[in-house]
């Protein structure tokens, strides 16, 4: 039996239906964006328009970092719940007895975390840009729109979400319970954000080459990580709690 996108679609649809009715997931998906748009807006309005370019750029960079926490945190929570959560509620075994391949299950779950996370992140970023255009000082708005900030945000949002998802699912396949998985998954998804923070705060000198290298590294990771995570997905261990 070959890889089936229909089975991937079935997993995706089920996950999205389940998220829609899961109060914890809904609260996380609502609260995290709300929290992480307040901080950048404060940065935006508190910034001194008369400050020098470096200072202004660091301020805007910090705002953007807050916004990039959303595509890391939201999918990390969803992804780290995905396998261990099913195991805890007893639904994993019936799924594993169907013809679904582990790759199909993982990609379905990955997409189900990716889509809402990226949609929420872009929506919040859109709100931030709208607020900047309408309410921010023209100098600051200009600095946001004329620099590479928008491009970086658009590019790194899905790349970081992909990283957080695969790390989260990897943790979820090995964790003993949901809470531990979510804590570890969120923590483990932060490293690329730290690099971006250092760049945005001018600790590491920003350059096109660095941005491209970082983006390319994340892209390669996102495209290949599912194979590693699939290898970690051990049916026997998940069903019995013991290694095969």
């Amino acid at each position: 039996m070959s890889f089936s996108w229909r089975r991937v679609g079935a997993v995706l649809l089920k996950e999205l239906r389940d998220y829609r009715r899961n109060r914890f997931i809904l609260t996380t998906m609502t609260l995290v964006p709300v929290i992480f748009i307040i901080a950048p807006l404060i940065q935006l309005f508190a910034a001194n328009a008369a400050a020098n370019d470096v200072h202004l750029s660091a301020r805007i960079g910090l705002s953007m970092i807050y916004l990039l926490v959303i595509p890391v945190t939201v999918p990390a929570v969803l992804a780290s719940y995905s396998v261990v959560g099913e195991r805890e509620q007893g639904t994993l075994e019936p799924v594993l007895t169907t013809p679904i391949r582990r790759e199909e299950l993982l990609i379905g779950k990955g997409l189900a975390a990716f889509i809402p996370a990226v949609v929420a992140s872009y929506a919040v970023f859109g709100l931030f840009l709208a607020a900047a255009a309408v309410f921010a000082h023209p100098t600051i708005a200009s600095a946001i729109f004329s620099g590479t900030h928008v491009l970086v945000q658009l590019l790194f949002t899905p790349l970081l979400a992909g990283w957080a998802i695969w790390v989260g699912i990897a943790v979820s396949t090995r964790a003993g319970d949901v809470r531990v998985a979510q804590q570890l998954g969120t923590l483990a998804s932060l490293p690329p954000l730290v690099v971006l923070a250092l760049v945005s705060l001018n600790v590491i000198t920003a350059s096109t080459g660095l941005a491209v290298a970082l983006a390319a590294g994340l892209l390669v990771f996102d495209l290949l990580a599912w194979r590693v995570v699939a290898a970690m997905f051990d049916r026997e261990r998940l069903v019995t709690g013991r290694r095969a």
């Binding site: 089936s4 679609g9 013809p99």
Partner: protein
């Protein structure tokens, strides 16, 4: 009660003709140092209802999980629905079987229909709506299709899980304790469903603690306690394990029982019980008329002379007792 010594395990042949739905040969599964299943061999014919009995920890669920490709055997082999067990055949085997575990394993926030739609998608079934409607009708849940599974009682959830197992028209249906937690009415309904499946030719592998359930539903049963202890039709097992006997109930005890029973050639041994007498006989059909004549001749007030029927429970307990004794030696 006298029990014949169990000297070995017969690898009973499948009840129906037309090949075997399951062929298990020397299957062993270890978890570290612990042996969950040891050198188990049996086969199940297409269309057969096969009961798998054993105490907790006997390896029943491990067997089901192994045959369902969830676990890899440590050694031995099996053919499931015509395909050898192995990593490569896993998805195809799983497309030919259905497995209903003891816990329903439903998504409680989703409706009954959404749960079934999800599994229909995983099996890539056509005519999803029609199949779901038929499966729900089969378990009498057509009117609950739009209810969230979380709002259903345990019994109703179990029925949804059964509907899920029926969605695919499986060649082999594994039912792991299907009536666990069900009330008597729901239990009877599940029995009816299993009987109907047998009439449709679905091979059913039923693990259960309920011995009367196995006796009522199964063509053959196997008793497992890490190793396979016994396999066969319930009546064959009775004959294999217990000598045949006749129960005699009288209004008053006999004055000279030895003379009366000693005069009947078919009686091999006898003992007095609080209810009357238990006689070991070679053939009850021959012994009962002769005994009745002898009792009447001895002027006894006969209340009943009947063949003793050992239940599957007697067989099961006898075997498990033997294992306990062997372990404690």
């Amino acid at each position: 009660m006298s029990a014949a010594r169990v000297t070995g395990v017969t690898t009973g042949q499948g009840a129906s003709t037309g090949g075997s739905a399951l062929v298990v040969e020397h299957l062993t599964k270890r978890f570290g140092d612990r042996v969950a299943l040891d050198d188990v061999s049996f086969d199940v014919g297409y269309g057969e209802v096969f009961g798998f009995l054993g105490p907790n920890g006997a390896g029943k669920t491990t067997t089901v999980r192994t045959l369902g490709t969830l676990l890899s055997p440590t050694s031995g082999s099996a053919v499931v629905a015509g395909l050898p067990l192995g990593e490569k055949n896993g998805p195809t085997i799983r497309s030919r079987i259905s497995l209903m575990s003891e816990s329903p394993g439903l998504y409680l926030r989703l409706t009954v229909r959404e749960n079934l739609e999800f599994f229909a998608g995983l099996y890539e079934l056509d005519d999803t709506a029609g199949r779901i409607a038929r499966a729900l009708r089969a378990v009498n849940l057509a009117d609950r299709a739009h209810d969230a599974c979380g709002s259903l009682s345990k019994g109703l959830r179990q029925r949804v899980a059964l509907a899920r197992a029926l969605l695919t028209d499986p060649a082999v249906l594994f039912l792991d304790e299907p009536t666990s937690g069900l009330d008597p009415v729901a239990t009877i309904e599940v029995y009816g469903l299993i009987t109907a499946l047998r009439e449709r030719g679905v091979t059913t592998f039923l693990t259960t603690h309920r011995l009367e359930e196995a006796e009522r539903l199964c063509d053959r049963v196997a008793i497992l306690n890490t190793t396979l202890r016994l396999i066969g039709r319930p009546d064959e097992l009775r004959r294999q394990l217990f000598k045949r006997s006749v129960e005699v109930r009288l209004r008053e005890p006999l004055a000279d029982a030895a003379t009366v029973f000693g005069g009947v050639g078919a009686v091999e041994a006898w003992e007095q019980t609080p209810a009357g007498y238990t006689l070991t006989v070679a053939d009850p059909d021959e012994a009962v008329p002769a005994l009745t004549r002898a009792l009447v001749a001895a002027d006894a007030d006969v209340l009943s002379v009947t063949e003793s029927r050992h239940s599957l429970e007697d067989i099961y307990l006898e075997l498990i007792d033997e294992d306990v004794e062997a372990t404690s030696r």
